[in-house]
Symmetry: none
Subunit: 295 residues, 2 copies
Amino acid sequence: MPCVYTVKHASALTGIPADTLRMWERRYGVVAPIRSEGGYRLYDDAAIARLTAMHALVGAGWSARRAAEQVASGTTLGPLGDEPEEPAAKSDDLDLLVRLTEDLDAATLTRSLDEVFARTDFETFADEWLMPALLRLGQAWHRGEVSVAGEHFVSAGVHRRLAAALDAVPPHAGAPRVLVGLARGSRHELGVLAFSVALARAGIDVVYVGGDLPPDSWVVAATTQRPAAVVIGVPAAEDVPAVRDTVAALASARPELLVLLGGGHQERVNAGELLGHSLGAAATSLAGRLTADPA
Amino acid sequence: MPCVYTVKHASALTGIPADTLRMWERRYGVVAPIRSEGGYRLYDDAAIARLTAMHALVGAGWSARRAAEQVASGTTLGPLGDEPEEPAAKSDDLDLLVRLTEDLDAATLTRSLDEVFARTDFETFADEWLMPALLRLGQAWHRGEVSVAGEHFVSAGVHRRLAAALDAVPPHAGAPRVLVGLARGSRHELGVLAFSVALARAGIDVVYVGGDLPPDSWVVAATTQRPAAVVIGVPAAEDVPAVRDTVAALASARPELLVLLGGGHQERVNAGELLGHSLGAAATSLAGRLTADPA
DNA sequence: CGAAGCTTGTCCACTCTTTGTCGAAGGTCT
DNA sequence: AGACCTTCGACAAAGAGTGGACAAGCTTCG
């Protein structure tokens, strides 16, 4: 098979205009193709690889000079034949998470999430894209259509994105405090984490305690911290008994404490107050109740 | 490696508008980025760390001037004559995490972590502060000195900080790919997440799959993704059997695959290659091996 | 209490740098 | 001969630098 390519061929392979190809060589020396006797450039596979790498970096927002330095300093010796393809411009792609499980590429994952995330405010993003997309991902996972590793990889990426959003909320001194987390055994944090972000953005001092918190610890935290309310997620049917235990323990220890439930199976607990299934609306409504009535 | 970032990148990484970035430099001299030939600012990792620390302080209610002084006094000043050096008493407070469990204050948690984080480069931070501090936290937890909710709360905060650090590493196109995660049943992600950050900073394309990944899924991922190596954390003694199963499954499916173990109980697995207990050294050494030998 | 003053983030105008693209003049390949 | 390539200069749009201006918030003083 041919191992050398002319400019036109290289341009077609990389998707970079031939003019730009020559300019990158002249200005940054990112490649140095050998020449034919007549002076024509002859690119080999390594050159194509470096050019695709540089193209990807530039597409990710790097300046051409930095990208060239990165490609030149970074070891680009890998025997890679894969080519990062352009993500099609889409407006409402709920299967994006499912697709991202196939090719475990951290850069693409981060970039795709950033794009979706930046399209609108957080509450709309969470209600109209994130939760439906996570539902699709869960369904595909149950059908065995995505690998467990892929699901873990994408979930970890979404977790990172939500965590960054939570840390990015400026703190509200003196705001009512709300404890948010999952009951013992519950480990699907994504929904309750997204709700924490929305609640913090609504002006609440959120104490996010994560998943798998036993009933006793809920009681201890609710007693020592004196939160204005407690939010427990019910992401799965098998979490219902543990949530029921937790709500009962909290009710007996602090009967006046406001205990709210969220998540897909909140109705099956038959205790506590329900937040409903609109994350943004629930967060603003709860924040309104707590700040209006500081009793 | 010492990556440099343009204003746009620095702004994206820190969440601070580019205008404010320049203003903080002009008014308070909190950073002094080197310039390109054309005069463009080039921020390094230390500058990004100082800016995030200052951002956190300002977000916590500090005035910009005080925050800048705090950040400047906490680290060594580079460009100009050395200030009257005050080695603050808080130089290596390993019990900080334990104290933070008492009062579940999200703002204090974030600010404290940012301050410690900004004191040095990530590898030193991880080896000399984070891992020892997590060990102290675990010991205090076993002695019953910290509440479970407090431990969860602080762990979630550290998780967020590490996640942000992982997402902040620029992608290395064409770099060797390494799968990093925990075996089935393992759920203590903090150590393996910190290692992922160090490995990504060393130029590796890290695929972080998180915790609780069954052996079959490890095999599927290692087969379809063809990583150059696989890193499995062994954070607790009870994780040893699951790790052993995973290593055995990987060895039978892909005998030539490089499988490495990290974490406190790596020695007890009696299989795979050991990474040792210096996180930074292990990351750079592994990255060196993989980039030098692309086979 | 109001006015003056300081702080701080944002905006604007203007200049310089970077970068992709184009055209002209001429050489190479089939 | 015609299609393709090379070098070089020029150029416009985007991005980034500088310094000044300004409004909102807070402090201080009369």
